[in-house]
Symmetry: D3
Subunit: 198 residues, 6 copies
C-alpha cells in the first residue's frame, strides 16, 4: 500500500501563470510518454517479475514516478491559477478550458485522453525491461522538448530535475537488464521466461 | 510525494489459480469503473479543489485506491500463477495471454486498454464531487457483479472488503458535498465556481 | 420509435459566423460531457430500469437531449456558415476544416472523436441515477465555461436555455433517486439490484 | 426536435433468453457498423447538406435508425432478461456482465465502446452520400452475419425486417446521389462543394 | 512481399518550411481519411476477396497508397525541417513538437493517433468495394480542403497529383463493382457472399 | 515507393482451419505489438533520422515487416477458410465474425482495433532506436506465446521463422544504436538531437 507525504519530491514555485506553457507540459501528466504511463507501467509489471531485486527496482521507480506525476500536476495547476478569460483566449487554452475549466486532467498536449495502449506489461523479464528503458528515453526526449520551448526559470528548474531522474532510471533499468541476463545465461537466452515457463 | 509500504491494505491469499475469474476481475484494475480510474480521478481533481478539507479527502481516498489497485493486481497475479497451457485454453485466457503472458496490464474484462475518457476532472467543486460519488457507486456495482460470479472464499474475502470501502468513500464524498453546499450557500448555488471565478 | 418535429426546442439565430467559438461549442455535440453522451446514456439505461416511473423519466430526458444535440449542431453550423479561408485560418479552424470541411461531426473541442467510454449504463438503479446526476452537473459546468467565453448574445441566449434544462434534469434525476430509495428501503439498500437480482 | 412514440417500429417478442446471441447482436447497438453510428452519421451530416431534398432524406433515415437502435436495445434486453449466474457463465457473458450487469451499453461484440472514429461527416455532398451508401452495406452485411448465426425465429424475424430496411436506405441514398449529380453536372463534378464553395 | 524502390512516386521538393501547413497535411498521413487507412484497408481486404481481378486491383492500389503515405511523410518532413523554436511557436506547432519533436507520426490534424476504427474490412465483396469507393471520396475531399488552404506551389503540386490519383482509384473500384455485380447477377444479389457462403 | 512481389517472404500452407487459433494470431496483424505497428513505426521514423546508415536500416526492416504483415494475414485467412457456422461457434469466433465475416481486419486478439497510440516516432535517434529494440522484444514475446499455444506444425513453422526475424532485427537496431553512440560521443550524449538541434 501507499502513504502520502505532504511535500513534493522537488519544490515547484511558479510566479507567472502561462496557459500556453501549461498546455504542452500537461503531456507529461497524461500524454503518451508522461509520468502516469511511467508509474503505471512499472507498478503493473512488478507483479509478474520473477526476481526480487527487479521487483524492488520497479516498485521504487514506480512510486517515485507517482511523485513526478504530482509535480507535473502542480506545475500545470500553478501555470493556470487565477487566469482571466482574456488570458485563456490569448493562450489558446479554450479547448482545454471548456471541458476541464482549470482542473488537472490526464491528457496529451493535443487533447487525447491518456490510454493504456501507450504502455505494455508483457510478463517477460527482458521485454519489460527493454520497454522500460525505451519509456525513460521517450520521457527524457519530451523533457528535452519542453526545455527547448520554456524560458521561465521557475518552470525550467523542476523540469531539469525531472529530466535528470529519467536518465538515472534508464541506468537503473539497464543494470536490471544486466542482472537478468546473468541469471538467464545458464539457460538459452530468450527461450525461457521465468515468470511463466517452469 | 508517495511512499510505499510493503504490505497490502488487506491480505490476499489465493490458493487455486483460475484464469476465468482473473479475466473478469481485471476490470477493477483497468476497466471503466476500476481502481486505476478511481485513484487517478481523485488525485487529479485535488489540485484545483479550493477547500483544504476536500483536498484532504481527495488525497486520502486517492491514495487508498492506489492500494486497492495493488490488491486487485495481486488477486489477478495469484489467479494466474503457474498456469499450464491447458488451463489457459480451458479458461478462455488465450486473448489476454497472447499479448501479456501472465503480466498484469490495465485493461477491462473485454480487453479494452484503460482510457482516461472514462473519468473526468472538471475543475468545479460540486461537479467533481458528484462525479466521485457516481464513480464509487459504479465501482460498488462492479464488485457486486464479481461477488455474484465468484465462489472461491479466498477471492470473495478481499472483494467484500473492497466493496465496503467504496461505500465508505461514497459517504465521505457525500459529506464533502454537504460541506461544499454550506460554503457556497451564501452565494448563488452553481453560479460561482470558487476554483475558477474570483 | 421516434418522430421528428421540424422545429428546434428553442430558436437559434446567429448572425455572425465565428469559427473560434464553434470550435469549443462543438464539445457539447461530441465532447466528453455533451448532449450525445447525455441522450445515449439515458436512452440506453432505460431498457433495464425496473420501475416504470423511472423508465419514463429516462425516456423523456433522453429524447429532450436529442433535441439539444440538434440545437448545438445548429449553433455550430450557423457559426461556420459562409466562412472564407482567411476566416478559417484566423479562427484556428484548420484542424477541423481539413477533416470535416464545415460539416458537423461529433468531436470534443480538442478534436477527439466521441467515445462511449465517457458514459456508463450499469444495470443498477441507484448507480445509473448517480451517473446521470453527475452527467448533468458535468454538462452544466461545460455550459458555464462556454458562457464565460462567449460574448455574442445570439449564442449566449440558447446556451443559457440549455444550461437551465440541465439543472432541471439534475433535479428530476434527484427525485428519481428519492423514489428508488423508497422502493428499496424495505430491502437492504445496495444489496439488491431489482433489475438483476430476483 | 424529436418526439417519442411508445411503440417499436416493428415488434420484438423473444421468449427465450440467450446471452451468447445477445453478445454478438449488441454490435448493432454500439459496434462499428451499427444503428447508433448510422443514426448519428445522418443526423450530423444534414446540417451542412445544401439541398432540401437530401436534408429531408438524411433526417428521415436518421430518425428511423434511432428507432432501429431502440429495437436492437430491446432485443438485447429481452435476450438477457432473468438470466441466472449459471446461464451467464455458460453463455460466455461474464466480460459484459461484470461491467454492465444486464444494462444495455453501446459496445461492439468484442467489447470496444462505440467511437465516432467509425463514422464520418465530411461536409461534401457526394462524399457524405458515398459514406452513407457504404454504411448501409456494412450494416446489411452485419445483419447477414447475425442471420447466419441465429436460429431462434423470435430473433430472426425483427433482424430480417431491419436488414431489409438497410437495403431500402441504400437505394434512397443512391437516388440522392443521382439528384446531386444532376445538380452538380452543370459545374465541373467534384470541383465544387456547394456546402462550402461559393 | 514488398520491395522498396528508392524514389517517390511523384517528386516532393519544398523550399520553405511551414509548420502551420504541416500540422493539417499530416492528417493525410494518420488522420481518419488518410493514406495509411487507404493502404491498410485495401491490403487487408484482399485476403478474403474471392475474385482474382479484384484481388489484383486491391493489391495494386494498396501498394500505390503506401507510396502516397511516403509522399505525405516527405511533405511533412520537408515542411518541418530546420525549424527554429520561434517558428514552432509562431506556427502553433508546440502540441505536436512536445511529443514527437519533428519526427513523422501517424496522427490526425487535431492530434488523435490513427485508429483502425476508421476503416473496415468486412469480408463481403460488394460491401468492401462500397467502403473503398467512399474512402476514395473522403480522401479526395481532404485533398480539396488542403488545396483550399495552401498557397505554396511546392506543396500544391504533389497534392494535386495525389488528389487525381484518388479519383482514378474511385473509378477503378467502380469498375470492380461492375465486375462483381455481373458475377453475382445469376444468383440473388446480396443474398450470397462468395467469400463466405458456399 | 513500394513494389509488390507476388510471393510470401516465407511460405504459408495451412491445411486445417482453426478459428480459435486465428483469433489470437490476429494480434500480430493488428494487436499492440504486431507487424502493422512494427512496419509503420520504422517507416515513419526514417524521415527524421539524421544518419543515412540508420535510415537504410529502418527502411529495410520496415519493408520486411510489411511482408510479415502479409504472412500473418495469410495465416489468419487460411485458418478461417471454408468455416461452417458450427465451427465458428465452437471456436468462439462469433465476436469477430459478426463484424468482419472472415475478412482480415487489424485488431488485437481481444478485439480492440489497432491504434497508433501503441507506437512512437519521437524524432530523436537514441530514443527511436530504444523504442524499436523494445518493439522487437515485445513482438518476440508475442510469438513465444503463440508458439506456447499452437500445436499444428503448419502454423508453427512460419511463426518460428517470424520469431527469428524479430531477434535479427533486434540485433540490427542494437548495432544502429552503437553507430549512433559513436557519432554522438564527441558531443554530450543525450544533450544533442541531430535531427532537430543545429
Amino acid at each position: 500500500m501507499f502513504v502520502y507525504e505532504k511535500r513534493l519530491q522537488y519544490p515547484v514555485k511558479i510566479k507567472n501563470p502561462n496557459p500556453k506553457t501549461a498546455k504542452f507540459i500537461i503531456t507529461q501528466y497524461g500524454g503518451p510518454d508522461g509520468e502516469l504511463g511511467a508509474s503505471l507501467r512499472y507498478l503493473s509489471q512488478r507483479f509478474a517479475m520473477p526476481y526480487p531485486e527487479l521487483k524492488a527496482i520497479l516498485t521504487d521507480i514506480g512510486v517515485e514516478e507517482l511523485g513526478h506525476l504530482e509535480m507535473i500536476g502542480t506545475i500545470v495547476y500553478q501555470l493556470t491559477r487565477n487566469l482571466s478569460i482574456d488570458e485563456i483566449k490569448a493562450g489558446g487554452f479554450e479547448d482545454y478550458f471548456v471541458d476541464h475549466t482549470t482542473g488537472v486532467y490526464p491528457t496529451s498536449a493535443s487533447g487525447s485522453p491518456w490510454t493504456a495502449a501507450s504502455m505494455q506489461s508483457k510478463g517477460d523479464v527482458i521485454t519489460d525491461l527493454m520497454e522500460d528503458m525505451a519509456a525513460e528515453q521517450k520521457a527524457r526526449t519530451t523533457y528535452d522538448n519542453i526545455l527547448r520551448m520554456v524560458d521561465d526559470p521557475d518552470v525550467k528548474d523542476p523540469i531539469v530535475f525531472l529530466r535528470e531522474r529519467e536518465i538515472v532510471h534508464f541506468q537503473r533499468f539497464g543494470e536490471g537488464l544486466g542482472i537478468t541476463k546473468d541469471k538467464l545465461n545458464r539457460k538459452n537466452l530468450y527461450a525461457i521466461n521465468p515468470a511463466f515457463d517452469k
